[in-house]
Amino acid sequence: MSERREPSSYRDPAGFLFFRDGVLLRHVAPAGAADYDALLSSGLYEALALEGLLVPHEEVEPPEGHEDAHRVLRPRVIPFVSYPYEWTFGERRDAGLLTLSVQRRALERGLSLKDASAYNVQFLDGRPVFIDTLSFERYPEGRPWVAYRQFCEHFLAPLALEATGDHRLGRLFSSFPDGVPLDLASRLLPFRTKLRPGLALHLHLHSWGQGRYSSGPARPSPTVSKGRLLDLVADLEACLAGLRLPRRTSTWSDYYAGTNYSPEALESKKEFVRAALGEVRPSVVWDLGANTGLFSRLASEAGAFTVAMDGDPLASEGHYRDVVGRGERRVLPLVVDLSSPSPSLGWDGRERRSLFERGPADLALALALVHHLAIGANVPLGSIASSWARMAEWLVVEFVPKSDSQVQRMLRSREDVFPGYTADGFEAAFGREFEVCRRAGVAGSERSLYLLRRRSPA
């Protein structure tokens, strides 16, 4: 028997998550008993779970050592835990809209969310789902929404910065993993946002009020009726729904439309990837440098749950919109800079797990990526190989030689300090970590594709 507590589950006295023999369970403490019972007796749990807004759970017998628990729950498992600083703009907005939908339904049944953390949302079957069953409390009529500030810091502030400032500002969330402070957001937002009623109220006035009324003598809590809270939630929904990324393209968001790939080369790559997927039959695939998801789709069609990572927020956002549009349930696009994969963050350096700690995958796809790390970021080939060997047992990797026009472009304005960047150098470096199972040239180009298998367990 083994048991360990989930490191991120320590804030709320109502309960905590733990793993027992690898199974995720939630301990509902006596302090959370009355609110948990109200969640069930009000019919809110059933309604939210039926609509797919809240992760479903089943109640289980309290295991040894948890006899003091009011209940022990076994929630449905999320296949890959992602964090808000890895989400695309659309994912963040949908997660915020989900939180508001949950709050509206809770208020209608006499409950309220006591927190509105973006970490309470995960993606399951292609859509956001609320995962914290203990975030609900009985709502005393007249009390303001205690999570209003947290909602604005976790959702509205980063979204407004991305939509009206710069799409790269979503990355600010990793510097402020507990939400972007409102005074900072208010200072960074363009002046014109003061003329947009939603942003003027919920960010600028909110930030001003926070500074104005946070000091001084203790104040009694103001009264806000339920009707006004429902109006507030509806206004936040309209504000979020009205935020859009400006129409803009980046280097990568138009990659397949504007690259030198011939249809023949693309088809030959697809064939190789399809064959590799058929041979390995992976359950979980990580598509590294997924761009807009051309190859993630192949992995999904082969039945694998696919985490599609790309460092370009616009490419990943385009991929997310495509996933939503097709009703795709097995692909999760994320914004991850692969030259600096998500580190572990938060309290004790363990609250939010690093990308490596959330693996390994069965198979990783690394197509047209090696040259960006080896030449674009000066990472030695051997180091790329050992890093990817920690990410997956199987690897489909494409080697792009120096003679390729893409690499030539990268070397145009800099000294070539990469004498070892050759097909032989690549095979020697990767051969130390992996064995070559298959190799093929990409038709109509000098590129090569490899199916590799890790030599030893990670």
């Binding site: 804030r11 709320d12 006295p13 109502a14 006591k114 927190d115 005393p140 007249g142 009390r143 303001p144 929404w145 205690v146 999570a147 209003y148 500030r149 947290q150 009623p197 109220l201 919920h202 006035l205 909110h206 001003w208 009020g209 926070q210 500074g211 104005r212 009324y213 946070s214 203790a218 104040r219 009694p220 809590s221 103001p222 009264t223 806000v224 009707g227 006004r228 809270l229 109006d231 507030l232 509806a234 206004d235």
Partner: protein, 73 residues
């Protein structure tokens, strides 16, 4: 403007000696300003509804028919 806002806040607050207990810090300033923001949002909802009625009434007065509600032909 700051004074107006203070008066509005005072008008909107019905002082009840009950702390908004929460396991996260809701922020004292945030709670106070939330009362004002929620009041302004509700006021704008009421205004828009009233404006819609008045505007609809003017249209009717000048013989412009409102489109029939969905489902009726």
């Amino acid at each position: 403007m700051a004074r107006d806002a203070r008066v509005l806040v005072l008008l909107l607050l019905i002082v009840v000696p009950r702390p908004a207990a929460a396991y996260i810090d809701p922020g004292t300033g945030s709670l106070v300003i939330q009362a004002l923001i929620a009041g302004l949002v509700t006021a704008s909802v009421i205004f828009r509804r009233a404006f819609g009625r008045v505007f609809g009434g003017i249209l009717r007065l000048f013989g412009r028919r409102q489109p029939p509600p969905p489902g009726r032909t």
